[in-house]
Amino acid sequence: MSDDDLERQLRAALEPVNPGADFAPRVLARLAAEERLPRVRVPRSQALAGWVTFGLAASVVVAVLLAHQWQVRRMEQGIEARRELLEALRVTDQKLDLAYRVVNAPSHAATPQHSGA
């Protein structure tokens, strides 16, 4: 079979055809019917899948928020502990300073000599 033969036969086999006289009215009727319905009709299984997706997404958001809140609380606890430590160090420093001053005061240094006499 030659190329020309095959191409001629293909053109004949694929010749355009009409859909029938009622095609356009059927399209218009379907259009009218669909325009009366909501534009998007979601099948039940798709709706369920949508809710599952929404639920999963909401769970992820809640988990992220809880993790964030836990992290903030940990940070606040750390800051509070640091503050308390600094306060303790400050008090200790004051006490040590006081003790140093008492030990090195002239009156305190003379006291042993009086008692010795």
């Binding site: 079979m1 190329d3 033969d5 095959l6 191409e7 001629r8 036969q9 293909l10 053109r11 004949a12 086999a13 694929l14 010749e15 355009p16 055809v17 009409n18 859909p19 095609f23 356009a24 009215p25 059927r26 399209v27 218009l28 379907r30 259009l31 009218a32 669909e34």
Partner: protein
């Protein structure tokens, strides 16, 4: 198309876009042969072709505001019909043809006007992949060249040519083997 006809077509398009059902009906009648023929040769089933063609026109109705001329509408219809048909064939492989049975391979002498031969050729077309079938239909039903086919199917021209070449080789081999079987 003359300037007057172009003006009339654009006016029709504008009326349809404004919601004039009668104008849209004229548009459907004007292009129904194109859309239905493409759909029929792709899905090879009259009911499926009618359903697909109706869906294409419903989509057209909702896309009218993006279309500028009758040529644009024709190009759009061709492209949407072919893409919808290919999607349907890939999604629902039951529309892909079963191989020919031995009894079906009986055929007469080559003759383009022979309805039996045309039917056999259409059955062989159903054995092609959806993309290759689309290329053949656009080439031999719509007389589009590879560049136009590429634009319609959003496919590189070299891919179009490759599909065309391989599909013709496959069809020729199957036709020759069928003819040989009869002789």
């Amino acid at each position: 198309m003359s300037a007057d006809e172009a003006c009339a077509s654009n006016a029709l398009l504008a009326r349809a876009n404004a919601g004039d059902a009668a104008a849209f009906g004229v548009l459907v009648r004007r292009h129904q042969r194109l859309v239905y023929s493409l759909a029929l040769r792709m899905v090879s089933d009259r009911h499926q072709a009618e359903d697909l063609a109706q869906e294409v026109f419903l989509q057209l109705y909702r896309s009218l505001d993006a279309l500028e001329s009758d040529e644009h509408v024709e190009f759009w219809l061709r492209r949407v019909t072919m893409h919808r048909a290919i999607d349907r064939l890939r999604r629902e492989p039951r529309y892909l043809a079963a191989p020919l049975t031995e009894a079906e391979q009986v055929m007469s002498e080559s003759d383009a006007a022979d309805p039996l031969l045309a039917r056999r050729l259409r059955t062989l077309l159903e054995e092609l992949s959806p993309a290759a079938r689309a290329v053949i239909v656009l080439r031999y039903q719509q007389d589009l060249d590879p560049v136009e086919i590429g634009r319609t199917l959003k496919m590189p021209v070299n891919t179009v040519k490759s599909h065309l070449k391989r599909a013709l080789v496959q069809l020729r081999e199957r036709m020759t083997s069928m003819t040989g079987a009869v002789q």
